[in-house]
Symmetry: C2
Subunit: 244 residues, 2 copies
Amino acid sequence: MNNYKLILAYDGTPYHGWQMQDNAITIQQCLSDAIERIFGEKCTIYGSSRTDKGVHAEGFCCNFRSEKDRDCEKIAYGLNAVLPESICVLECHKVGEDFNARFDARGKQYTYKIWNSRRRNPFLLDKALHHPVPIDAQMLNEQAKDYIGTHDFSAFCAAGGTTVSNVRTIFDCSVERQGDMVIFKVKGDGFLYNMVRIMVGTLLDINSGKIQKGSIPEIIESRSRLSAGITAKAHGLYLSEVYY
Amino acid sequence: MNNYKLILAYDGTPYHGWQMQDNAITIQQCLSDAIERIFGEKCTIYGSSRTDKGVHAEGFCCNFRSEKDRDCEKIAYGLNAVLPESICVLECHKVGEDFNARFDARGKQYTYKIWNSRRRNPFLLDKALHHPVPIDAQMLNEQAKDYIGTHDFSAFCAAGGTTVSNVRTIFDCSVERQGDMVIFKVKGDGFLYNMVRIMVGTLLDINSGKIQKGSIPEIIESRSRLSAGITAKAHGLYLSEVYY
């Protein structure tokens, strides 16, 4: 049995997230249809994570198995020829038969992009959050360091999360300005439902003064969603990389 | 009489170019409607240039006159509130009554973006040309220097151009690689119909070997459209700045 690992980039705007659903177009559905066309058979696809409606990916990872032994570059080329243009297979690799993109993931990196200018950017409408109020990126970078470590992140989990434990380890977290763009990056062993978007929303609330500087440790400790900030919109969020 | 100068950014994808037309949505039409809503009167808009269907702008310039004396920041804010999101007023300034965005322009800078990777970029589908074959940006940068100077650019003018003289001065021209993106920039006192796109297409034909290295001077001298290269697609082109 061949086990193929794919790395995908996609613009999440036109999709109802990664996961297959009845009556809605999803990335997994499009990829499943494309694999069926190329391989001539239905294959189950295992995704590293679920991304929500409107969330993008620069390096989503998934795998599927098939008896058919094909050249990896030809698979990538063939899938890209039949996939919608907003989804692209960046890489295809053969991996060990036991590899599972979801259960073997050791960590993930997410990026959140904020267009921080008085004026909107017509080229980034669905690709970055437009935040017209000035952001003190250096200050938020210092605040973001309080996310690093192993914590119970219940305060940063939206209702609807289904995990047994809310303890996660954040390896690194930063906020950086590049011109009018403010870029939030976070790397961790796993993330709760809406966790990254609430982390970003909390930083924006600290920027506006709605939440006090230095209070991230006590928000974490509270384990209460009510003490954290808003949930930043989906369209600024990118799943950037999955580590194995 | 007040004369207002606007600097615009727009994503040209959904529009049939700048210039007003019957039965087609154009940027000028959208701006005209927005000004009418904000000023309560129809105003004639003078654009620095016409951009074609699908061409973008990072710094398009235009002006319009009105008896009504309004605060410039409020005009920009008001127009942005009623314009489609894909068009943004970046700046609004009061200028002398005689200023005309078209006739007073002393030069323009265009940018052409090429996504030069085997794989398409789902985030740049209508924003950059996807060219999967490797580009030697350093070589093309040397070739592009041959465009600089005052020349008859008839070989770089599509049929349908209506100018009296085809002599233009190119002040600067360069090709630069930034990761997988190859960026062509050209600054000149004016440009013929499709001139920038043919300049880029000719460089791509030099890259592929279809046109010989070092032949730009003789292509210019030929004054024949047939000796130049292809017309690169509209969606990689940006009007970046207009100089007065």
